[in-house]
Amino acid sequence: MDFFSPVLAGFGVVFQPENLLYCLLGVTLGMLVGVLPGLGPAATIAILLPVTYNIEPTSAIIMLAGIFYGAQYGGTITSVLLRLPGEASSVVTAIDGHEMAKQGRAGAALGIAAIGSFIGGTISIVVLTFVAPLVAGFALDFGPAEYTMLALLGILLVTTLGTGSVAKSLLMAALGLLLATIGQDPLLGTARFTFGSDGLLDGIDFVIVAMGLFGVGEILYNLESLRHKAPPPAPVGSVYPSRRDLRESRGAISRGSVVGFLLGILPGGGATMSSMVAYAVERRTTKKPQRFGKGAIEGVAGPETANNAAATSSFIPLLSLGIPANATMAIMFGALLLQGITPGPLLVDEEPELFWGVVNSMYIGNLLLLAMSLPLIGIFVRILRVRPAILAPLTILITMIGVYTVRMNVFDMFLVVGLGVLGYLMKKTGFEPGPLVLAFVLGGILESAFRRSMRTFDGELSGFLTQPIAASLLGLIVLLIAFSGWRALRGRKPDPRKEKHGTPAERPAEDRNPERDDDRADHPG
């Protein structure tokens, strides 16, 4: 029973009143962010980082985690009612979900999505409870060589498996690695790329990068469509699905849980990709594929289950290896560092209260979200009517003041605006901030680990091949490069804009803001 005593103690942490409160606060915020198109969970967590600085670490992480998986529930609402996915991970839900809404079955779509999300999320937490300590135990012996390969593999997976162009993602990853070298050399203390500025000597704070690229960047990008009015949402009706709905979705929910859990662990996988793969899986397993795109309930149940399962399982590499699997996890990594906690294999043993407190809080969070998405859904539908013109100034204000409070430094405010402009330009030119932020986080780890390994191996690059785990990881990297090379050679993809009902798994989701496209189509000129 040794294994279970810290797990049970974790529940003690969760049931402390203030932790319950932060959990409720987190999932409510997540729901809201999911409902409001424009601001994603990554941006919200980034913006709130400075505020969490003053909160106790466990409570802070419980709240931030709640925002992340809560947004997966909320994103469904706009997808179904407006065909405007609130989150990239709900893009495929819009296809069949909005068809269902048109047929007057919006409630059934939202209900099944909430139930699927709850089941997917809960299964994922149970498996996480057993898998994460195992992985951490395995990783205890990892040295610099293994971490070099692990960080490299993480960056490559994010760039190759992520949505969008591989070359563009690679360029962003390289830029992230370069930005990470600004400041003092980690081993020797030499100033690098500081241009004589004292403000840059400590390097660029990760919080500033995340807030600039995600927070300010997204706000600036959304400014362009600030004056466009959103169409009124479709009526919801009863959110409790019928027996037939449940029977039809049973398979989709179980398959979605598995797909979501597995893809969530993979770096670069995460919620968005798992929802797309789950949709493709449903289309392939069904006996009547012609129903898809015309309001098939499996097309809502599968992806929505998967994105929640993935949101939960993507905590495994972060909490057990210290390697974030996607951009949002990179920001969670920053949040932990901000609290003076280095995530890694030692976390389970050294901070059991934090580890199990956060993991177990997800059970409660999912229950709260189920309540919010079934009986309380009306409240969140009403929030759809809040105008972006009021929301944008408030978010930018919290961001600017938040940035200042990190180091009480006006220089950081200018820096965050500069990075925000970069984030805006990247969105306009089709570059994604995800790989940059992830590479920025892993850059420090990668450089130190690489240089330490080179010293151990006495400058022989072949030294990596003498370590069995590092060599296997290197093998994976080579396979991955070969695979993406093969995929690139097999032919270019057709323009995704032109094939509206093509396989959604092949359609880039985060490249553009679907809200804006639909919005403008309604108001031409």
Partner: protein, 159 residues
């Protein structure tokens, strides 16, 4: 304006030119960073100097950027800069002004000014909404950060 423009996806010549520019900027930055890294001192592989890792990264960046300059055909992810983009310029300038005034005159006046600009000018809200939201939000920031979290924001109003 053609129909294509209204959906934010520019014609292929515009998109290609935008792609070339978007890849050339990191190309130039990569080259400059590589030179600067070289000057920092490379050391050797058994004892890497401060410049070795930045050099590896800059070279990788230059290579990928060069590939992108050559393969500049439109991917469908590009968006045209148009009249709506002017709002973004105004927004950025207002944020820079906000940062510049923040420590000089306390957070209250710049905060109300920023909110009024964004609500009234950028968002075209009514005067009533503008005034109510700006004043309430500034008061909320005061209560949250100064009274609640006890963060020392520069401020002129004292209780």
């Amino acid at each position: 304006m053609s129909t294509v423009d209204t959906q934010g996806s520019p014609d292929s010549r515009y998109a290609r030119r935008q792609n070339v520019i978007a890849a050339s900027v990191p190309l130039v930055i990569g080259v400059l960073a590589a030179i600067a890294a070289w000057q920092l001192g490379l050391g050797d592989l058994s004892d890497p100097g401060p410049g070795l890792w930045p050099l590896v990264v800059s070279v990788a960046m230059v290579v990928v950027a060069a590939v992108l300059v050559i393969r500049s055909s439109p991917t469908g992810a590009e968006e045209r800069f148009n009249r709506d983009s002017v709002i973004v310029v105004v927004g950025v300038l207002s944020l820079l002004g906000y940062a510049a005034l923040f420590e000089q005159v306390g957070f209250e006046i710049p905060t109300i000014a920023l909110l009024m600009l964004w609500l009234k000018v950028l968002g075209k809200e009514s005067w009533l909404v503008t005034v109510v939201v700006s004043v309430l939000a500034s008061a909320a920031i005061y209560l949250l950060f100064i009274t609640g979290l006890e963060v020392s924001l520069p401020h002129i109003v004292h209780f």
